[in-house]
Symmetry: C2
Subunit: 469 residues, 2 copies
């Protein structure tokens, strides 16, 4: 039997797609990578995944796992490979409110889990623009971040247990629901963030948290990034860490927003250098119960702090959401980032870096100067999860010159490295950052990664060529 015959016998003809049937699976959202797989496989369950990997191992055929394909780094590029789509393994098997856990399959779209948790007054706090398409398996495989990492951590911090099918088809059962479990090496965290290069995640135990019953949300114009950090620290200290999001949009972001999404409007009558979107979440009755004046304690805290900082000249303008609709409107301006952040035409340098919080301003200043020295009219586009030092720093160069683009990437990497940061924060490595891994990652760490990859996938069939240069 041919490879495809064996796979068809295993999955049924409806779930082995070839030729044009593969089209929906042959690129990722940004359009930077395109590919033609041998076939797209859509297993229904763990045992079918194991069967696929046994066949792939025996035949030495590379396999690329795929979820919602909302990735940004080419992690699901699959030219001449088998794509293993987890979309049919999409059951929320169980939500146990008392234990605050959800047991899910990898094909569950994030927003479905958001909705399901909400029915129990719980919340799954992994939140980013692509939540309506991104799947939990992909989020685990990239250790996805988003806007609420500040309060709840990245995907890794939200996972208690995993089931993984290894390259040779064996099933690794790490489906713990426990908060303390020291029984040997921490294998779970090895597969989280491995981008499918070590195995296929087929189930997970995810943490849920109490749903915020009220939010205090504001869009702010501030005098500087330092003032913004001072605000963050004050709010965190005064609220006890209830800041859920602290997002930075510079002048260039607002200019792009006006140009490309005029329908969203601007929060202020003019564009400021530093605009911040801040949100606090209230979960306890004492924070959710309005005071005698009808104001929520958390909103009062936010307003009090903003008032004081306006007097000090640190906050120069503010819009506080007074309804859920207003809150959504403020967020729409932030969540348009991905949409407005691609050039209408021409090249783009896209980075996703992290530096210590108090060095974000210095990073932007230094990186900006170095980019300008390379291409005086390049347009830098930036938006940042300022609360955890994660900057999405992109540049639209004025010419499509591979040498220039490479020089820009290195200039950003240099700056990050000088400031003790990382060239990869929350999007993963995939193909896009292989060069950065080669240049910037500790060489011993690369050797250890290679040794582990060789130990777990000796035939190099699991998403080969990704993550490890």
């Amino acid at each position: 039997m041919t490879l495809l015959d064996r796979l068809t016998a295993l999955l049924g003809p409806a779930h082995v797609l070839t030729g044009r049937d593969c089209d929906p699976y042959t690129s990722e959202w940004l359009g930077k990578y395109h590919w033609q797989p041998i076939a797209v496989l859509r297993p229904a369950n763990r045992d079918e995944v194991a069967g696929i990997l046994r066949i792939a191992s025996e035949t030495g055929t590379p396999v690329v796992p795929s979820g919602g394909r909302t990735g940004l780094v080419g992690g699901t590029e699959a030219q001449g490979r088998l794509m293993l789509s987890l979309e049919r393994m999409n059951r929320i098997r169980e939500i146990r409110p008392a234990a605050r856990i959800a047991i899910v399959e990898p094909g569950v779209v994030l927003s479905r889990l958001h909705d399901a948790a909400a029915e129990h007054e719980l919340h799954f706090p992994l939140w980013f623009g692509a939540r309506g398409s991104a799947m939990i398996g992909g989020a685990l495989s990239t250790n996805a971040g988003g806007s609420n990492v500040l309060r709840y951590g990245s995907t890794r911090a939200l996972c208690l247990g995993l089931e993984v099918v290894l390259a040779d088809g064996r099933v690794l059962n790490l489906m713990s629901e426990l908060h303390k479990d020291n029984s040997g090496y921490d294998l779970k965290d090895l597969f989280i963030g491995a981008e499918g290069t070590l195995g296929v995640i087929t189930a997970a135990v995810m943490k849920l948290v109490p749903a915020p019953r009220a939010h205090a949300t504001a869009m702010l114009a501030m005098s500087s990034l330092d003032a913004a950090l001072a605000l963050l620290n004050r709010l965190q200290a005064d609220s006890g860490g209830l800041v859920e999001a602290f997002e930075y949009m510079p002048r260039s972001y607002q200019e792009l927003l006006v140009a490309r999404r005029p329908d969203l409007g601007l929060p202020f009558d003019r564009i400021h250098d530093v605009t911040i979107l801040v949100e606090l979440g209230a979960t306890t009755p004492r924070d959710c119960t309005p005071g005698p004046d009808g104001v929520l304690p958390l909103a009062a805290l936010l307003e009090g702090t903003l008032g004081a900082m306006m007097e000090e000249g640190l906050v120069t303008d503010a819009v506080i959401a007074s309804s859920e609709a207003q809150r959504r409107a403020l967020w729409a301006r932030r969540e348009a980032a991905a949409e407005i952040g691609t050039p209408i035409s021409g090249p783009m340098v896209d980075t996703d870096v992290c530096v210590p919080l108090d060095r974000v301003a210095r990073f932007l200043s230094l990186a900006g100067k170095r980019i300008a020295a390379l291409d005086a009219n390049a347009f830098p586009h930036c938006v940042a999860h300022l609360g955890d030092g994660n900057v999405h720093f992109a540049v639209f160069p004025t010419r499509d010159d591979p040498g220039l683009i490479e020089a820009m990437i290195r200039a950003v990497e240099d700056t990050v490295q000088e400031l003790g940061g990382s060239f990869s924060a929350e999007h993963g490595v995939g193909l896009s950052k292989l060069g950065s891994m080669r240049r910037r990652k500790d060489p011993v760490a690369l050797d250890v990664m290679r040794a582990i990859k060789q130990a777990l996938d000796p035939g190099n069939i699991m998403n080969p060529g990704k993550v490890i240069p």
Copy 2:
């Protein structure tokens, strides 16, 4: 040159101990394991650690890393091996209050880090009885837990970055200070909890948290464990997760305490079936500012909840600490656990298990019955971090019969497994739980652990014979 000559040339004669000079290093606290090492090595820095491991690799000599030797599972047993004591690498290199991190060497004793953090109004929230001797390297290597895991997580959750010397002497630099850093596999978490079998931790970046400025602490008699869980859930919901400790001491614990530490006294006029020590920590000004009645909001919250539950008959007696001295006195009764938890003579079955919170009562009932069926007069001794389902369940059998002891261990393991728990919660595996690993751990997980061990330590010189059966 002989092995010892080479090591002496590297470290100097004062730091290569042999013969009787090794005596302080030849047993662990419980006295269950004794050993005679070839030598005890006391390197001053990372490069000396690397030099030792290069020599050990070349000569195929096994090396056992050692910190404060407060472990409970034989993890530092070193018969006929080199012991590598990290005690001289004990610098707190830096505390950066704004970033809330401490950069430490592995030989830093926990209580020194507690004191150093306190000078900056910060807190290092890893807290257990042995904190005056235990070192951060050992805490990382065992992923130690303790009383405050409920709020702050285990050691793993408190570590941002590591430096590790590998078996062949290469230095792996993972000293990130970032909260988002997805640049390849999560190697850091592989070394945390590996009990020195994959490398030697030579530096770490640890998180600090705002120091609680006030505590609300109480010792409670409760009608049942279910009532205790209801109390925990109410306090967590009302305070927004400010419960720092929720410790359970059953009747048998109190009886042992009276017998062996009568000086500590009893909190109540009689012994109750269910005694709970609960503590909440206040960090925000709004929780630390006394109300018009002079009562802290957090204390008022605790008192209010306790009052309501007393009316419902769920809390039957309560002592609330009204001073730091009273708080310390309540804690002294809990922290005597290790001291009173060893038999005066005779054998002991010691376990450290975890089950889902709502199954702790069922675990104790089932395991108790099964132990009684094996030895009707065996004395079960238990204390639990109830807030995270972690039960230290020990038994003093009436006879020193290896078959009986083995049967008791298996009875506990059976019960844990039936309830979806883990046979190893926070003490590690070492030698003590190798049998449990063999019997209970997913066999594929064991295979993956062996593959990783082989990949990183092909000569099997790093703490061989521990963790992996």
